[in-house]
């Protein structure tokens, strides 16, 4: 069997690696217009003109300096995995920044190709001299556009033909640095990395590339000497000289085109000006909220009417004429289809469409900047707003996204907030579709206000308990772009397809089981032991315990269960107060199983148990309190 050429895609955040990966392999991965979309590597195999290429997309990294957990993933991959060449993906609109990472890769002696991505956008700002750039770096340079696919075939050709090369390029640092490198480099040669590159990394304070850690002490001595001599740590000297060279190369290969400021650029500026940026932010949040409420409610109506007309009424009449066993199965199927459609399409899909729009427009980093001061009150920096925003969609990628946060303390605060008070799209749909629809929109809004207030209290308390200043924010702001409909739809589908592929079959099975338990009058034996919680404490029908339990599997199943348990006219069997209590408990109690698993993996057993325990107690207390309040008035 033909062996594959193994390639890794490496680049700074937001240079379009994931989009290029999708174009090269045809495998859809979610890409957005902000840094940190990829926190784990993706891989796929592609056949191009009979040549097999295995491509890996690594998380974005500004350097190989190990500044955050996702940068660790990159360094670990470069050290431990097998690959034949590295494709450094550069952003044509910000060449000098991208070149610095390329220098690091070239110094390490890895066979490299430079893919100049966003070339179409870059050409609007600059005239490029690609041949000169290739000559200066001593590697193939391929202009590509992941947006249009231009240049992707040429890039694949280059990789198939094995034209990635180990470059003789050197930054030529100041004499004292070069002397130190040459002192160390002979001892630093390893199977994979050049002694020169490993020595440079070691002088920068990163010992990950050393062939043996016994050398770390020698490096430390030389670093101290260089710091004493230069009055600055060697990593600053090295960084300064790298950037000086990358700026110089950029000047040699780019000619700036003269053009007036575009409307997009003017709007982009307005989003970060305090006078205009804050009103725009308020407008964006209000629009999102109103769209979810009103468009969601409208679509809910349309979907349920259409479903009943096309299938629902037919299945109901079929069930009526069947024996109890068959009727249970038909009702189970009917209830699950209706629940999943009325939940996913009106609320979850609308939310993800809005989130994808924000992501692809490049507005998310602006939100980070505008919210930075607010987040500091909770011991976080503005960057923590990204996992929280993503968490409004789904807690699982949100907890994964906390990897971009540098300290464990901040990850713990953000993860706690995500789990305890950030409602995922399924929870939003429960709040809107159950509480909002049957108790009234003001009550649904009240639950959101309660969650915000709880978030503030928990954030302040955790900040006080876990005393330490937040780490600092330094974030690149991408240019704002007009999102592509194709990518928006693709991302939305990628994010909601699990609801159909995973949640739906589970819901059907669960619904049939519940229907059978109801038909044969067994359910009471199951729910009775929990009636103290459901009936006495929360004032809900005893069967609601089933919703809470299946809600741990998938939150969206809880609504389906409510329909199955109490029948399609469940809203006549519950009071508005009960719908509010149900919404409060569903919004705050433990997350779904997938979120728990990811939390366990990311934060460990102790913190997971602590967060989940607190979440459970808090949900019961809030539910009971809400029930008591309604009993009083």
């Amino acid at each position: 069997m033909q062996s594959a050429t193994r390639v890794v895609l490496l680049g700074q955040p937001n240079v379009g690696k994931s989009a290029l990966f999708s174009r090269m392999t045809g495998v859809g991965v979610i890409s957005s217009n902000y840094a940190g979309t990829t926190v784990e590597f993706e891989e796929s195999v592609v056949t191009h003109n009979g040549c097999l290429i295995e491509v890996r997309d690594l998380p974005g990294t500004y350097s190989l300096s190990k500044n955050s957990p996702d940068e660790d993933v990159v360094i670990q991959m470069l050290r431990e995995s097998d690959y034949d060449s590295v494709v450094v993906v550069a952003d044509s609109t910000n060449l000098s920044g991208s070149l610095v990472l390329c220098f690091e890769v070239l110094e390490l002696g890895l066979p490299t190709v430079l893919a100049l991505n966003k070339y179409d956008a870059g050409c609007k700002k600059f005239d490029f001299d690609i041949d000169r750039l290739s000559e200066l770096l001593d590697i193939p340079v391929i202009p590509v556009s992941a947006k249009t696919s231009n240049g992707v075939d040429e890039l694949l050709d280059t990789l198939c033909e094995g034209r990635a090369r180990v470059s003789g390029f050197r930054v030529n640092y100041s004499e004292v640095i070069e002397k130190s490198i040459s002192t160390l480099s002979d001892a630093f040669v390893s199977d994979r990395f050049s002694g020169y590159g490993s020595a440079v990394k070691a002088l920068e304070g990163n010992n990950d590339f050393l062939p043996t850690q016994d050398l770390a002490e020698a490096v430390s001595g030389i670093r101290s000497m260089l710091t004493q001599m230069g009055n600055e740590p060697p990593e600053i000297t090295i960084g300064r000289e790298r950037f000086a060279l990358s700026d110089s190369i950029s000047r040699q290969v780019l000619a700036k085109t003269q053009r007036p400021m575009t409307r997009k650029e003017r709007f982009s500026e307005m989003t970060i000006e305090p006078l205009t940026g804050i009103p725009i932010l308020a407008l964006v949040f209000a629009t999102m909220f109103l769209v979810i409420i009103y468009v969601g409610a409208f679509l809910d109506e349309v979907v349920s009417t259409v479903y009943d007309y096309v299938l629902g009424d037919f299945l109901s009449s079929l069930a009526e004429g069947s024996d109890p066993f068959v009727a249970s199965i038909i009702n189970g199927i009917n209830g699950s289809i209706s629940a999943i459609l009325c939940l996913v399409i009106p609320y979850i899909m609308v939310f993800y469409l809005m989130l994808s729009l924000l992501e692809d427009s490049g507005y998310i980093p602006r939100i980070v900047v505008l919210l930075d001061s607010v987040m500091h009150r909770f011991g976080l920096h503005g960057g923590a707003a990204i996992p929280i925003l993503v968490g409004i969609g789904c807690n699982v990628p949100a907890i994964m996204a906390t990897r971009t946060i540098r300290t464990r303390r901040e990850r713990l605060i953000v993860s706690s907030l995500i789990i305890m008070v950030v409602p995922c799209s399924a929870q939003i749909s429960i709040i809107m579709g159950i509480t909002g629809k049957y108790a009234g929109i003001p009550y649904a809004l009240g639950i959101f206000v309660m969650l915000v207030a709880l978030g503030c209290i928990i954030g302040v308390l955790l900040n006080k308990y876990l005393t330490k200043s937040p780490s600092n924010l330094a974030m690149e702001l991408p240019e704002m772009t007009v999102p592509h409909v194709r990518n928006i739809l693709f991302k939305t589908w990628e994010r909601i397809k699990d609801f159909f592929l995973i949640a739906f079959p589970l819901l059907v099975i669960g619904s049939i089981v519940i229907e059978l338990l109801l038909t044969y009058d067994i359910l009471n034996y199951v729910v009775e032991p929990f009636s103290f919680i459901t009936v006495t404490m929360l004032g809900l029908p005893a069967v609601c315990i089933v919703c809470f339990i299946v809600g741990i599997l998938r939150k969206e199943m809880a609504v389906g269960m409510l329909v199955i348990l109490l029948g399609e006219n469940f809203f006549e069997l519950m009071t508005p107060a009960q719908f509010v209590v149900f919404g409060v408990v569903m919004a705050t109690y433990v997350p779904c199983l997938a979120s728990m698993t990811v939390l366990w993996r990311e934060m460990g057993a102790r913190d997971t148990a602590l967060i989940l325990g607190t979440s459970c107690v808090m949900a019961l207390m809030l539910g009971t309190l809400t029930h008591l309040l309604f009993s009083l008035f």
Binding site: Y62, S63, S65, N67, T93, N94, L95, S96, G97, V100, S174, E175, V176, K179, E204, G205, M229, G230, N231, E232, P233, E235, I236, G239, R240, R242, F243, A244, D247, S250, E269, I272, E273, P274, G277, P365, V368, V369, L370, D372, S373, H376, H381, G382, R406, S469, S471, N472, L473, A474, M475, E476, L477, E479
Partner: protein, 217 residues
Amino acid sequence: MGSELKEDCLINMLRMSEGEHPVNILELATYMERSSDEIAGAVRELAVDGLVALDGHDASFTDSGLLSAREIRKKHHVMESFLVNVLGMDHLTAHLEAHQMEHKMSQESMQKLCHVTGNHHDKDCSACTNPCENMVTVGTLQTLYEMAVHLKGRIAFLRGKDPSDVKKLISMGFVPGRDIEIESRISSNGPRVVNLGESTVAVDAELSKAILVNVGA
């Protein structure tokens, strides 16, 4: 007690604390690789001269002491810059020579050397090979935190307390010698949005205090 040792104590205290906190005399002796008795004696003399204040084993700068320390370091950098940029000497030799001459150089020589090295702001030594950290309060050097919106300048140096912050800044392109322009400031204690090369980067207030910019350079 030689005045060179006292001046060395001042400059090393500055390196250790930047004048922001007291320095333990024993730690200073270790840092300078000298005996603790020798350094304790020098520091006591500095206290008599009114350049440092002693509190047990801790020494902190007086206002005049801090100025003197910065002045000595500035002389070092101006001389080093002259040796490297004008005479073409290598960095290591220039650094060792400058270390000797910083104790001998007059204020007038220093100012003239500043002109020779191409820097006409006589209190600003940003033309040095290794710009010194003593320019925070003088001349046109400002922290990014202090800079007004739309001001342009050139990054002079970084002084983050947390090494990983400095590493992150370097990797994002905040390195001495690069041009920077402050585009927006969300609030007085909010992030600063800057143009750096072709990038637009947001830096929060705390981190922006770590970036020293030679405004108007």
